[in-house]
Symmetry: none
DNA sequence: AGAATAGTGTAAAAAAGTGTCAAATTGGGC
DNA sequence: GCCCAATTTGACACTTTTTTACACTATTCT
């Protein structure tokens, strides 16, 4: 129904990231879409089904002119790039996305994570860091977990 | 449909900035135009398809005489320069544009950003600064992102 | 006029991106 | 555990784009 799972895939020296077959199936089955739009946020990359992205973009486009709107363009909308899959299920990440997310050309290991309607991509190192931070914030307030039934 | 993407390109010692092939295609495909008009704004350079620029200029020209109009001329209209592409896809930036945007002759790295119907050009350093500021303002109010569906 | 500076044109090298095949790895079913 | 099919990764050739380099023209300054 949604993207789910954590995958250790790889990126080749030219910057093509392989996306898990599960996600590609999900994309066409549940989102009736064949393409992803990749943008950057919080040190990593985020990919949306193109159809979802268009809705987001339309909302931002419709905002009243001003700093908030300009900021969203600069940080999120302008960096967005539509990506198509090649025969092997890979997408080409732009140089600036690779720079942003710390994927320099020697790094091969990426982590691809399904998060509801989005797919997130991190370098393995960054992912470990982010996940550890999330875990420790959760531990600070164990009652939340208990209340949720975990 | 519009200019989109962030590119790390370069400027040569004589002040010619290379513009991404994607933007050149977009310019002729979606704007039916072959030239850009470059002006300056907020510490960086902004390029408009010539046809769009003419409309902007006409509006300002039609304004009632007064300080506001004079200011617009001084800050935005007068500095505007039409630029043509050479065979390698570069445009020559004037000395005053380079001065304005901090592109002195040793600096080689520029960032070219597609922002809806405009193309913005910064030195790499300035761009990093501007983007970081935009990101931190966005992070101050995370609810906005959530509401937009990011 | 001559020298210095700025800008232009072009070719060639280098870098980046694309397409495809085949090997390696993985995971599911038996 | 083993085998088969699917998926992922590595490799390589090719195309496109960007950068470098250098020669040439025009302009400015003395």
């Amino acid at each position: 129904m949604n993207f789910q799972g954590v995958y250790n895939n790889s990126i080749d020296p030219k910057g093509r990231a392989s996306i898990p077959a599960k996600f590609r199936e999900e994309l066409s089955a549940s989102f009736a879409d064949d393409n992803l739009v990749v943008t950057q946020n919080k040190g990593g990359l985020v990919a949306y089904p193109q159809s979802d992205w268009q809705k987001i973009e339309a909302k931002v486009e419709g905002m009243a002119p001003g700093q908030r709107k300009d900021d969203l363009y600069l940080a999120l909308i302008s960096p967005a790039t539509p990506c198509t899959f090649d025969k092997q299920g890979r997408i080409q990440l732009s140089q600036s996305h690779r720079d942003y997310s710390g994927l320099d050309s020697e790094i091969r290991e990426i982590v691809v994570v399904g998060v509801s309607r989005k797919i997130m991509i991190w370098s393995k190192a960054k992912h470990a860091e982010i996940r550890a931070q999330a875990e420790s914030r959760i531990e600070e307030d164990p009652q939340v977990l208990a209340d949720l039934g975990f």
